[in-house]
Symmetry: C2
Subunit: 468 residues, 2 copies
Amino acid sequence: MSAEAVLEKITALLGPHGCIVEAAARAPYEHGPRYGAGAALCVARPADIAEAAELMRLCAADRISIIPQGANTGLVGASSPDTSGRQLVLSMERIKGVIDIDPVDGVIQAWAGTRLSDLNQALEPHGLCFPIDLGADPSVGGMLAANTGGARLIRYGDVRHNTLGLQALLMQPPGELLELGNRLRKNNTGPDWKQLFIGTAGSYGIVTQAVLRAHPLPRQRATALVVPSSPEAALRLLQDAEREFADFLSAFEGMSQNALEAVLRHLPQAIAPFSPMPPYALLIELSSSASANEQFNLEQLFMSWLERHFDDAIVDAVVDKPDTLWRLRHAISDSVKQEGKVVAFDISVPRSRMPAFREEALALIARDFAGADVYDFGHWGDGGVHFNIAIAPAQQEHFPPPRIDALRTAIYDMVVHGYQGSFSAEHGIGPFNQHYYDRYQGQAQRQLAARMQPVFDPHYLLGNTRFG
Amino acid sequence: MSAEAVLEKITALLGPHGCIVEAAARAPYEHGPRYGAGAALCVARPADIAEAAELMRLCAADRISIIPQGANTGLVGASSPDTSGRQLVLSMERIKGVIDIDPVDGVIQAWAGTRLSDLNQALEPHGLCFPIDLGADPSVGGMLAANTGGARLIRYGDVRHNTLGLQALLMQPPGELLELGNRLRKNNTGPDWKQLFIGTAGSYGIVTQAVLRAHPLPRQRATALVVPSSPEAALRLLQDAEREFADFLSAFEGMSQNALEAVLRHLPQAIAPFSPMPPYALLIELSSSASANEQFNLEQLFMSWLERHFDDAIVDAVVDKPDTLWRLRHAISDSVKQEGKVVAFDISVPRSRMPAFREEALALIARDFAGADVYDFGHWGDGGVHFNIAIAPAQQEHFPPPRIDALRTAIYDMVVHGYQGSFSAEHGIGPFNQHYYDRYQGQAQRQLAARMQPVFDPHYLLGNTRFG
């Protein structure tokens, strides 16, 4: 069937408002925040799940490839079409809105197109929040497809940990609606199929709505920037903080001297927390939904803890408002961009291996990739490392694409083979990481995925990631 | 092939110590704690995963059905053979032991046959525990197969929430070892296949080892038995406790007057906490791994909270040692058994519906099943209800099996259709719940399971549960 005939059918189904064909209007849906542009056959924007189901049946019949898209904030290209002009972008942006909030159940139910910020706005009057903490404002469907993590994973877990139920449209049989779950905390009635739709970028079906765990909003918070006496001391502090503060430890982040200095150079009005700047600093945060009172005050508890560790594990510390300290932390990514061409890493290692990995990786860069500057920061609480590198303008001629590929592979090889770590801690696979998935993922897992393919999507029509 | 020839091959593979054929020696493996006896072809006890893999290849070739078994403490018959004498029990009891503990990573890695008590014994010197709290002492493999919950789910989640990685032997290809995961907290590299082996009773493969989250051991605890002014007040207390005590709320259990009175009748030296006994009581527990000190003392916090609610939601309260109060709670099941023939329920409803469900279910029993006495207790924190019933000896002639089936179905229908609840909150499916699975599980889910079957086990050789 010709592209024109297909577009005519889709427009007839969704109406002109539901099917964007014109190139300029398509453009925002064709590229994500971190990679080049593709070209879509069209952008389909169904108004409800009945239209989405019908669209899937149409695509199945005509073998049209579908790229599901939420807020298009992902970092691995999983929601972007390729350059063929033959893939259909299925935007869920019109299937949005909060369906229900139950403060006793501690749940929020919402359509896939609902933004994270909208969830939190709806939850706030109930004293609740959805505690996924990150810079972007993804949609519910996108968060499930990516299994979003974020900076407070140590306290709340990732999206998988906070999903009680979901509803998905299948490609096999085309357009079938699978209702998975509910708002129960305890339910052992067979395989937990919903897990297959989380962190798989829409490859097994398109999430249309979710029932998510809501958590009490923090009502007090204490934050400090801490200079550990050594990398090993940082691990001791992490362990001790987990024991002493149990689950009101809500962040344990690390920032290298380079990363902090980049922030001071580029963030307007940033004030140096230390002078001279230490080689490494930790941002430690406690938070609790209990109000502060004379019996329970996180700031006081935190101050006592810091004092107790000043002799051994802590060299220096700055206690300041959460917003002030987080502003430094959140400014790292953008500040590093201003230092040169960024080679970003989203990797993780077991927490116990953080110091050893960092030492070996820095040595590798210094030895084999001199001229590349490392501005690493990371989540010590969950082993996540953003081992970001910038190539300064004067150095860029020495770093042609093959050398950057070699650098990338050298670091990934070290993470995966040397540390049993992950080459994609929180961003997922997508076209951006497909090559590394094929390189690092075990053969047995890839074969299992290949055997599963016919069950969910025999003609590889869903998404642009190939798990098997 | 004759049974004799098969037994000869298995004995040759595993040695006489590894294959139990004699009837009396087989018996303990042929029945579980709550149901009648089956008869196994033999009990195979491989010494390691190489033997287990070879055994699976042998069974695949000869089409011998395998019933995986851990500590055989499950409550739905999922680890028991049927009466045909043709199923092989694959006991994992010899594949046991702790492989590694890393206190910084907060993980314990252990073979499938390791008991929960052994995990905790190995973790204790590190100040850690595996916080699944229940009466039995299951194995690691059994806990994963059942996705064990327990009384502290509100604080720690179920086994699924605490499993970082696992290793499983597949039936397709027979004996293939699938390595799923590691000790990473953050890893988004494709489908999370390990979820398919959790809560599925070995139907998709046999778990051979797991990497589990270890948590800091509590170092202080505060417990009270609280009489709420009404069922709705109990919900208000739950919500407020979650906000005020964040995640050091470690249990919020409910016990009916009947259940408490049964305990007082049958538990030696039990002392009545209230007089007269109230219609319902809550066991609320706070715990923290932080030591008690003048800045942070759970008992003091708890006392203040109880006082604050005395005017509205709380009618009476007894603060006592955790062991004393938990002893009452844990004695309910056994005490009810002494009241008559037990019809046990393991159901759950959304937390917000606990009072409405209880009222309607009690009314149904009173109206249609007079003579059946309800001794309900439950986990208000997670919506789990053990709506247990005892038929006193004098009444048993009025409750022949068909009437008990009718009672069971009436309650399940109410839970599933009236409250979007679960007919098996924590025990799983197994032969005991197969009939209800077929009745209540959505058709789309059962069809998906049927399509998945060839991927994992085309000849239905694994386990005795049929998901599709």
